[in-house]
């Protein structure tokens, strides 16, 4: 059975910063381009949920038997994120195998490697692999300008695949080049030329030559190479050294999103797939304490992703984030004055007990009279039937704004504006939460909005997640 990529999804935050906004704040000259900025209510988990759910365009949820999560910046040092992401995606309860991959920017392709082996060993078993990062660099460092926040996901399995994964290779390599100590907020790195020459260029050169040799391929037989890198110059230099022409180098969104850590390789793969014809070969090499490499071949099925332009859809619907001061506050580098305290206590027990409501975003449909309500209600609001209902998933729905208020004093002191929003679906079922990632002038009664998984607060010393609403950004999933 062919094993390969069955679906993909990405998530690029709504906000980006012009790199000049940062360099001018420091009165220095910096590179041009943009870096993606996760909103203050986002983290790598919420971005991963977005990217993972984007995969359900080309594959059914019920096909997913494993979920791997890769990140170097996950919120918990101890406690798995993959289980949380699986529940937020509303995958089948308990039976999905989940695992987290971490510690290296190569973690995403590490998970990909394991997913390929799992598929080969288990009759094409499908694994959703999602990589998400929002790394922090010292203020005024050059990495502060280049690191960007993003997530991307691939579904690996057998059968009708968009691209086969024809071969892979991995090597490990010990070097202290880029690292972050436990407890550090910012990445550290060695001297520039050492990091590039003795780290990235040496190891990547070695694995690219090795995988070409292993599968008896010439550079000219490859349509695109995906070389995630700290900067586009390094990727170009590597390509040249390995015999590839500049036009063979796939953009991994370094200029428009930035260096997105574990997600960068996936964004490059997805970009290459979006441009691929059946038969096109893609070489991927990913770096971090060694390297992973893959050879992919687009199949005829690649035609079904035509017209989706997933990357462009996100790039084309973004908003500039102008304030460096607010950026520092959002990243808790220079936290702004706290607002008034929230009046609700956090409860680990309640968070566990209500996960179908708050993490899966389930409502209930009465088995007696068919009435629907959100969230799950044990007693039917219409006919009074008790405990006779089925749960339904609201997180895929596009609903319409019924009423709203731009509430200036319900947020944080650094970003007080949010929109209290009530929406209505085609059944007349109402939903209430707050809107995020909006352009306030565009908000109106009757507009379409979609749900987005977000961090509400960190009371109780853990991130408390729920869903918000936002103007449409992703592919429409469902309406009622």
């Amino acid at each position: 059975m062919d094993v390969g990529i069955k679906s993909f999804g990405i998530y690029l935050p709504y906000y980006y910063m012009a790199r000049e906004a940062i360099s001018s704040a420091w009165e220095t000259k910096g590179p041009k381009g943009k870096k993606s900025i996760a909103n203050v209510d986002e983290d790598v988990v919420t971005m991963a949920v977005e990217a993972a759910m984007d995969c359900f365009r080309f594959v059914d949820r019920s096909d997913i038997k494993s979920l791997f999560f890769a990140s170097t910046t996950a919120p918990y040092a101890e406690k798995a994120h993959s289980a949380l992401i699986s529940v937020a995606c509303d995958l089948e309860n308990h039976s999905v195998f989940t695992s987290d991959f971490a510690q290296s920017t190569r973690a995403g392709t590490n998970a990909l490697m394991v997913a390929c082996d799992a598929a080969k060993a288990n009759d094409g078993r499908s694994t959703l692999v999602v990589a998400s990062d929002m790394r922090k660099a010292y203020p005024k460092s050059s990495e502060e300008l280049t690191l960007g926040d993003a997530a991307a996901a691939l579904v690996i399995g057998g059968g009708d695949v968009l691209a086969t994964i024809d071969g892979s290779l991995s090597l490990n390599d010990e070097i202290v080049d880029i690292w972050r100590n436990a407890g550090d907020a910012y990445i550290s790195q060695g001297e520039g030329r050492f990091v590039v020459d003795k780290g990235y260029m040496r190891v990547m050169g070695e694995i690219v030559r090795a995988i070409l040799g292993k599968y008896a391929l010439e550079p000219k037989s490859i349509a695109k190479v995906v070389f995630p890198a700290a900067g586009a110059g390094n990727a170009a230099k590597l390509a040249k050294k390995c015999g590839f022409a500049p036009e063979q180098v796939q953009d991994t969104l370094l200029g428009s999103v930035g260096n997105s850590g574990t997600a960068q390789a996936f964004l490059g793969i997805i970009g290459a797939l979006e441009g691929a014809k059946p038969g096109d070969k893609i070489l991927v090499a990913d770096y971090g304490s060694g390297a992973n490499a893959f050879i992919l071949t687009a199949t005829k099925a690649i035609g079904k992703i035509r017209g989706f332009d997933t990357i462009q859809r996100f790039l084309g619907n973004r908003k500039e984030f102008g304030s460096y001061a607010r950026y520092l506050s959002f990243r808790e580098i220079a936290p702004a004055q706290p607002g008034s305290p929230f009046k609700l206590p956090a409860s680990a027990a309640m968070t566990w007990r209500e996960q179908n409501l708050n993490i899966r975003l389930h409502g209930s449909r009465c088995s007696e009279c068919g009435a629907t309500i959100f969230p799950v209600n044990r007693v039917c609001h219409a006919c009074g039937a008790k405990d006779k209902y089925e749960e339904f998933r609201a997180s895929d729905l596009v609903t319409k704004v019924f009423t709203y208020s731009v509430d200036k004093y319900a947020g944080r002191s650094d970003d007080p504006v949010l929109i209290q929003t009530v929406t209505e679906d085609g059944n007349g079922t109402h939903y209430y939460t707050i809107m995020t990632d909006f352009n306030v002038e565009d908000v109106s009664v009757g507009m379409d909005v979609e749900f987005t998984f977000r961090k509400m607060h960190s009371l109780g010393n853990f991130p408390n997640y729920y869903w918000k609403l936002r103007p449409l950004r992703r592919e429409k999933r469902a309406t009622i």
């Binding site: 607002g339 008034s340 305290p341 929230f342 009046k343 609700l344 206590p345 956090a346 409860s347 309640m350 968070t351 209500e354 409501l357 708050n358 009435a371 629907t372 309500i373 959100f374 969230p375 609001h381 219409a382 019924f402 009423t403 709203y404 208020s405 731009v406 509430d407 200036k408 004093y409 319900a410 947020g411 949010l418 209290q420 009530v422 059944n427 007349g428 079922t429 109402h430 939903y431 209430y432 939460t433 707050i434 009664v445 009757g446 509400m456 607060h457 009371l459 109780g460 408390n464 997640y465 729920y466």
Partner: protein
Amino acid sequence: MIKDELSIVGMGCAKFGERWDCGIPDLLIEAAYEAFEDAGIGPKDVEMCFFANTNAPNNCSGTPVADALKMHGIPIVRNENFCASGHIALIEACMAVASGVCNVAMAIGAEKLKDTGFGGLGTGRGLSTVRESRRTAPGSFALGATRYFAKYGLTYEEGRQLLAKIAVKNHANGMLAPRAHFHKEITVEDCLKAPIIATPLGLYDCCGNSDGAACAIITRTDMARSFRDDPIYIKGFGIATDSVLPHYRPNFDWTSFEALRISSLRAYEMAGIKTPREEIDLAEVHDCFSITEMLIYEDFGFSPRGKAREDIEAGFFTRSGGLPVNVDGGLKCFGHPVGASGIRMTYELYKQLQHKVDNPKRQLENAHIGLSHTFGGPPQISAVLIVGNEK
């Protein structure tokens, strides 16, 4: 039958405002001793007490009242019913006397909002740790305003102008109420220029957060004349509790609240009122936000559905209009110490109907039936009380 069987024979109301120098005990003493003196009784004459308070730290039950007023040994029941707590204490006191369990009951509400350390009522409502973690009072009531404008075809600017007229009216009334929190005359222009709190509501669309207390002594009407010559009679009351989150109710339309409709209809039925617009001489309603007062006009039958605008523009609810509303400045200017408000509103009716208002300039002539009302939420609970000076 309850109508006219119960009477208010004494009332007191503390000065509302930022009472930095006072704690809850001081506010309780200020309101209660005025009521005792008014009724010609002492604290030992009270047989049962109903205490309204929403914000006291920790669970305090009725002990603040017992300790401040040395009323140890009698039942003192604390209730927390959002902004309707004061009314519910009053109605509980009425029901206690009506049941025959006691002859003299006291309702007292007190709140120290200015001890919280922040403005407003805070962020977060309900029981879920996440679903309502960013819910606020202005952001919730504002949802009614946006929907009302959309339903009746008002532009944002037209809607804001209309709401501003309610705020201007209540500020003008508050100027004449010495115990009110705010004394400031404002114009429609001031309202429109004020900072936005939660669209479409600006600063002047929102009531004050105040400290305050108010108290009432209830007895049987057949005993009332032994306390005073001009008791005020209980004509009717109604309470309706609704969802903590009507936000989720299918087809809920936000321009009308079931709790408002039902609570007023119950009170009208008990009081024998058929045409509230004509029969009620003055009303103190829950103007926590300007939009709330407007929605109440329609749900209480003061204005036909969708026609509040015409009445507001005609000045129907001003002091000289057909149905004066919030003649003491309302929550808007008198202030809103949550648990005290329902009793404070009833205090205004009591003094108006006795012709004993503290500032003669706001004394209404020929008023016989008054309605007071509080609304917690939105719109979890609504409570209405109707009183009169004639049997």
